[in-house]
């Protein structure tokens, strides 16, 4: 996200002993990295909330670096809660069970906390994330850490101060292709997008590159016609980029090109040949049985019948042998037909 908030890094306040985390001796600011799947999950839960509830509360899971300064949120789940005018209560039992279940699947994750459109009043010594989903405005995510401040001694456990900390949404390499496809659906009316084949994706990428090249060349010709301002930075950048084109001899290009194309064709031919071969051998194995009755006990029946069919099968087997041998040569390997011939 194009976050350009400026953050004033206050020292992270230390919580008093009973609620302190084990790493609270470090007062460096905490920074949070969000993974897109956690954010998508929150958005999904937000759109599923019961009609009378304004907010959704849940738990974040993630990893924390050694000294506690870097927190990465990788997963989350929602927890049902009830709201009254003053307080918001969460179902802690549910929370514990879900944590159990999640930890069984991914034992490395650690507990944090989130809520959508509001703040929870359950101060874990951890990270809070709020995502605002007011219709018509931007979806904004904010992260805080909590520190208890005491107004009076009795209410110290209830009140806390939330300090905003910087956060960043990181999209890693693997999610990029998925994200592109998902984003492709956002401009369509029904918000759906079919899976695209490789060729279609390639076509789209090439079209995008062509469009970009067109824009750049328009700009350059405008600059040459003195219709646009020139910029040394842009010129330098373009020069650097164009210098990346390799300088190779024409024969080398031809040779490499031919080699690569031949490699691909070879493997393609090989794969298809293997497929045909396996298909053929499977079919020979299953189809040949009806021809030769002497080599297979097709059904347990009377032995006399078997003897007769055995004799008849022997004759047919003799005739089949030539056919099997011929096929054997063509297929180039000793398949069941060949084996039957030996018997």
């Amino acid at each position: 996200m194009g976050d350009s908030h400026n953050y004033l890094h206050l020292a992270r306040p230390l919580a008093p002993a009973p609620i302190a985390t084990s790493q609270s001796s470090v007062t460096a600011p905490v920074s949070v990295t969000l993974q897109p799947q956690a954010l998508f999950s929150i958005i999904d839960h937000a759109s599923r909330r019961p009609a009378d509830q304004e907010r959704v509360i849940g738990t974040l899971l993630g990893t924390r670096s050694e000294d506690g300064t870097e927190v990465s949120v990788t997963n989350c789940y929602a927890v049902p809660h009830t709201e009254t005018a003053e307080q918001v209560e969460m179902d802690m039992d549910y929370q514990k069970r879900m944590l159990d279940l999640h930890l069984r699947a991914a034992p490395k994750e650690v507990l944090n906390f989130y809520s959508q459109q509001g703040e929870g009043t359950f101060p874990h010594p951890a990270v809070h994330l709020t995502v605002s989903t007011v219709a018509g405005q931007d979806v904004e995510a904010n992260t805080y850490i909590s520190a208890p401040i005491g107004v009076t001694a009795e209410r110290a456990a209830d009140s806390c101060l939330f300090i905003p900390v910087p956060h960043e949404i990181k999209y890693d390499e693997a999610s990029k292709s998925g994200l592109e496809l998902i984003a492709g659906a956002r401009d369509r009316d029904d918000r759906t997008q079919l899976m695209q084949t490789d060729l279609e994706t390639l076509e789209r990428a090439i079209e995008q590159v062509l469009e970009m090249l067109e824009r750049v060349s328009n700009y350059v010709s405008d600059v040459l016609d003195e219709e646009q301002q020139s910029s040394t930075a842009l010129g330098q950048f373009l020069l650097n980029t164009l210098a990346l084109a390799p300088k190779v001899d024409a024969e080398d290009i031809e040779r490499d090109f031919n080699n690569h194309i031949q490699d691909v064709l070879l493997v393609s031919y090989l794969a298809n040949t293997i497929r045909t071969q396996i298909d053929l051998s499977n079919r020979l194995a299953t189809a040949a049985i009806t021809m030769g009755g002497d080599t297979n006990v097709a059904s347990s029946g009377g032995d006399q019948q078997k003897q007769q069919s055995g004799e008849r099968g022997g004759e047919r087997g003799g005739q089949r042998r030539e056919g099997g041998g011929g096929q054997q040569q063509r297929s180039g390997q000793a398949g069941p037909g060949g084996r039957r011939g030996e018997q």
């Binding site: 019961p50 979806v139 990029k176 918000r191 490789d198 390639l202 194995a285 084996r339």
Partner: protein
């Protein structure tokens, strides 16, 4: 490339929500090179199966003796091999079924669709067609009334730029064969089952909610096309421009990469594996036939002897001995199942299809590069 499912099948199309796609990608890339398995939940709407959420299965089998849910004995010499088999078998393991039921129960409380509609698995370069896959899908299709699909996510090919996510179901003819659990030659002849018939592929679409769509619109994409952007003052400023540098929705040009050899090498490796598997199956079949022939020869000699004995006894006015005893004396070998051979065939077909698709894409790129580097030639 997708086969059209028959008109009477209960599911004809699969619709995924964006959340499922992201979670799938995340989980698969995290546990790569191990296969990642998990459960899908959603709803079936008419002939369309909508998948709205997913969660991973715990990979290791709980060790029943110690009661520790994450224990696999590291002293076990087959520890490594078992991990893979365990991971692949996770969707139909009893512990996973219990886990799944519990998860669904809890998810229902937060209004997530509570119907299990399938399972997912990750693979690399298309090597997902194995006995475990088929058994998992058969388990699901038997158990939950036929409205389930298997989603296969290909980690290797998706990292090359285009998302490869496919949905499969077992064909009805194959399900019928599975019920009898007999894959001998006669049953295959009767049912006329070929390896192409095992799986049906279903078309997949991705669907976004309104909230997600508004969020996506908010993400920075390529810079706007208007010409009022201020020109950058320095090269560094260009490099540091947030719109260009960390742009999640920038056009993903990874698939313009020309990396041919690794793909070919991996595919050929896997073809070799398939050939070995096929060879093993053939050897088994031939061994069976040889032992069968030996048994039959023995039976025939015994029968001959019996007949001679009976002729003698008839001469001596004694009762002839029964001639059916050979059934009790000789045990015929059991024919090995042909399922594995069919699966190998289907797997090789999958590789062949992938290579063909790859070849089409690569040829286009190669000709483009060549036309660019040899500007004098007419392309």
């Amino acid at each position: 490339m997708a086969t059209v499912p028959p008109a009477e099948s209960p599911v004809r199309e699969v619709q995924l929500s964006a959340l499922v796609v992201m979670r799938l990608i995340k989980h698969s890339t995290q546990v790569w090179p191990q296969p990642a398995t998990g459960c899908l939940v959603g709803m079936d709407v008419g002939a369309q199966l909508q998948i709205t959420n997913s969660f991973p299965f715990p990979a290791s089998n709980p060790d029943n003796t110690t009661g520790n849910p994450n224990a696999t004995n590291p002293a076990d010499p087959y520890h490594q091999a078992d991990q893979l088999a365990l991971a692949l078998a996770a969707p139909r393991a009893k512990s996973s079924v219990a886990y799944q039921n519990e998860m669904i129960k809890y998810l229902r409380e937060v209004n997530v669709d509570a119907q299990g509609v399938g399972w997912y698995v990750s693979c690399s370069m298309g090597n997902f067609v194995n006995a475990s896959f088929v058994e998992n899908q058969a388990f699901y299709q038997r158990a939950t009334g036929e409205q389930t699909v298997a989603l296969v996510f290909d980690v290797g090919r998706s990292s090359q730029g285009s998302l490869t996510l496919k949905a499969y179901r077992l064909s009805p003819s194959f399900m019928a064969a599975c019920k009898e659990n007999k894959f001998t030659t006669e049953s295959i002849q009767k049912s006329n089952l070929r390896y192409q018939d095992i799986l049906i592929e279903l078309p997949v679409a991705i669907h976004n909610s309104h909230l997600l769509t508004s969020y996506l619109h908010q993400l920075p994409t390529s810079p706007t096309a208007d010409t009022d952007l201020a020109l950058p003052a320095s090269l560094n400023e260009l490099h540091r421009n947030p719109h260009l540098a960390s742009n999640p929705l920038a056009p993903n040009l990874d698939n313009l990469d020309l990396s041919i050899d690794p793909f070919l090498e991996k595919t050929v490796d896997q073809l070799l594996d398939s050939i070995e598997a096929h060879q093993t199956e053939q050897n088994n079949a031939q061994y069976y036939q040889r032992s069968l022939a030996r048994e039959q020869a023995k039976i025939q000699t015994w029968q001959l002897k019996r007949k001679q004995e009976n002729a003698l006894r008839v001469q001596q006015k004694q009762t002839p001995l029964p001639e059916d005893e050979w059934q009790k004396l000789f045990k015929l070998p059991v024919e090995p199942s042909r399922l594995e051979a069919m699966l190998v065939g289907r797997q090789v077909e999958q590789y062949a299809r992938q290579i063909d698709g790859f070849g089409a894409v690569v040829s286009g790129k190669m000709f483009g590069v060549r036309g660019n580097l040899l500007p004098g030639e007419a392309s």
